[in-house]
Each structure stands twice: as C-alpha cells, then as structure tokens.
C-alpha cells in the first residue's frame, strides 16, 4: 500500500521511521515546557491568598485532568478512523495512547486528593470532576484489560475500538449525570479551577504545563507505537532488516 500524501504514512512500515524521528522532538519539547511551566508555577506565580502554597498542586492536577479526558477522545477518534479507513495504524495509535491517558487520569486523582486534604480537609470528596475522572480511569483500565485478554491483535483492535467509541459517547453523559448528582446532593461545592480570581500567571502556568503534557503524551505514544509495530510486524521483511 504505497500510496501518496497523508495516507503514505498510514502504513506501519513507513510510519515507523517517521515516528522514530518525531519521538526526540516531542520528548525534548516536553522537557523544555515542563521546566518553563515549573518555573512559572513555583517562582513566578505568587502564593495564593486563601490556599497558601498548596494551590501549586493545580499546575499538575488540572493539566493531568485535561490530558486524561482529551486522550480518551483522541483514542476514540483513532478508533473511529480505524473503522472508517480500515487502517491498522489508527488502531495501533489508539492502543499506544491508552496507558499514558490512564497514567494522567491516575495523577489527576492522586494530586486532586493531595490538594483536597489541605483545602477541604479530606482526601476524597465526591466532587463532580473527581468522580468523573475516577470513572474515566475505570474506562481506561477496561480498555487495557480488554486488549490484554484478547489473543488475536486484529480482533483486539476492533473490539477495543467499539469499546472506546461506546465509552466516548458515554463520557459526556457520565460527566453530566455526575454533575447533576453532585448539585442535587451537596449544592455547589468548591471546584478546583473555579478559584475566586484566577491570576493570569496561574493560568499561564497551567497552560504551559498543559502543553508539556501534550508533548509528553505524543512522544510516549509514538515511542510505544513503534514497539507495537515491531510486535505486530514481526514476520514482515522490513522488520527483519532491523535485527540483521
């Protein structure tokens, strides 16, 4: 399938070297953005009037939550693409993104807990955002578990694609239902991002860290997809050349 233009890279054989060149680019970009983000977060942004230094946790909590949510949608997008164009690479990308997305969901929950303790006095509150992130983490775990229990990789691709698409339709509904449930039971609770006045530096720090998370996710997914390609194409001639 040696097509031209964009679809040329939908073949694993031609994507493998391209991904290899992109991994260090995004990796270093992620490192540079992280340094910049941490500098803003710890050195530039002033101490919060109400929360003291504890609020600095949001520089990882919020970007991690964004990234977890967004990565799931990207997985759903690749899954849809794998159905529409029947491209193997799309399914491999979906597979490669899942562990990193799950990692960010976990970090979001963990840092949320350690932000909640000094702020709300408890590690866990059934806040709408935290609860939906918890369910999102379960969706990720389900996706990876389904992948792990299916022997045949092509079957696993398609089964996981169906699950990811059903899940992505459900994510907004889950979020909406949890939000509703939350307001019914506790009234409006303090939300992490709805701090009274979000200072501009705070927003800037969060955005830079968000971009760092983006670059990191891309780099990690590309690196992982290279391994997946090698696993899947172990019998193809071109992978043989790599070990000769």
């Amino acid at each position: 399938m040696a097509g031209s233009g964009f679809f040329r890279f939908s073949s694993p054989a031609s994507f493998y070297p391209l991904a290899g060149r992109l991994v260090p680019v995004f990796g270093w970009l992620a490192a540079a953005l992280t340094v910049a983000g941490l500098y803003i977060g710890f050195a530039v942004a002033p101490t919060d009037f109400q929360q003291g230094e504890a609020y600095r946790i949001i520089f990882i909590h919020v970007p991690a939550a964004w990234m977890a949510m967004f990565t799931y949608l990207v997985i759903a997008g690749w899954s849809a693409a794998s159905f529409v164009w029947n491209t193997r690479l799309s399914a491999m990308m979906a597979q490669a993104l899942a562990p990193t997305g799950a990692m960010f969901a976990f970090i979001s929950l963990w840092s949320g807990a350690f932000w909640g303790r000094p702020t709300w006095g408890t590690y866990w509150v059934w806040d709408a955002r935290l609860t939906s992130t918890l369910i999102l983490l379960f969706l990720y775990i389900g996706l990876m578990a389904l992948r792990a229990t299916i022997e045949d990789p092509r079957r696993a691709d398609r089964a996981c694609a169906v699950l990811a698409l059903v899940g992505s339709v459900n994510v907004p509904i889950i979020y909406f239902s949890v939000q509703w449930w939350n307001t019914l039971h506790q009234g409006a609770s303090v939300s992490l991002t709805a701090a009274p006045k979000m200072a501009e530096t705070m927003l800037a720090g969060m955005l830079v860290m968000g971009l760092a998370a983006w670059a990191y996710t891309i780099a990690a997914a590309l690196h992982r997809v290279r391994s997946i390609i090698l696993e899947r194409e172990a019998h193809a001639r071109w992978t043989r050349e790599l070990v000769r």
Binding site: E53, R56, I57, W110, F114, P118, Y216, E231, A234, R240
Partner: protein, 57 residues
C-alpha cells in the same frame, strides 16, 4: 531553599503530588524502554526461527 521546600507548611501535600507525577513518568519511561527491548528480542527470535525453517526447506 529549606523555606522553599517547606512550601509554607504544605510540603507533604505538594511534594506527594509532584513526586507521584515524577515517579509515574519515570515508571512509564522504563516501561516504554522495556517494551521496545522485548519487541526487538521477539523480533530476533522470530528471525532465527524463520532462518531454521528456510534451512530445513
């Protein structure tokens, strides 16, 4: 420096969060490297198997 590390009394919470992120990322980097190493090993094994089969044929 010590004062900065103490995070105005919130050191435990702040560093538990950032520490977890650091550990998670390092763990993922190790997992990525391990997966690539295993993929290459598997590739070498398959190549050897096929070489045997070719010789046998």
């Amino acid at each position: 420096m010590i004062e900065w590390l103490s995070m105005g009394g919130y050191a435990y919470y702040v560093w538990m969060s950032y520490g977890a992120l650091a550990i998670a990322i390092v763990a993922e980097l190790f997992a990525l490297a391990g997966r690539r190493r295993r993929a290459l090993e598997q590739l070498a094994e398959h190549a050897q198997e096929d070489a045997f089969e070719e010789q046998a044929a």
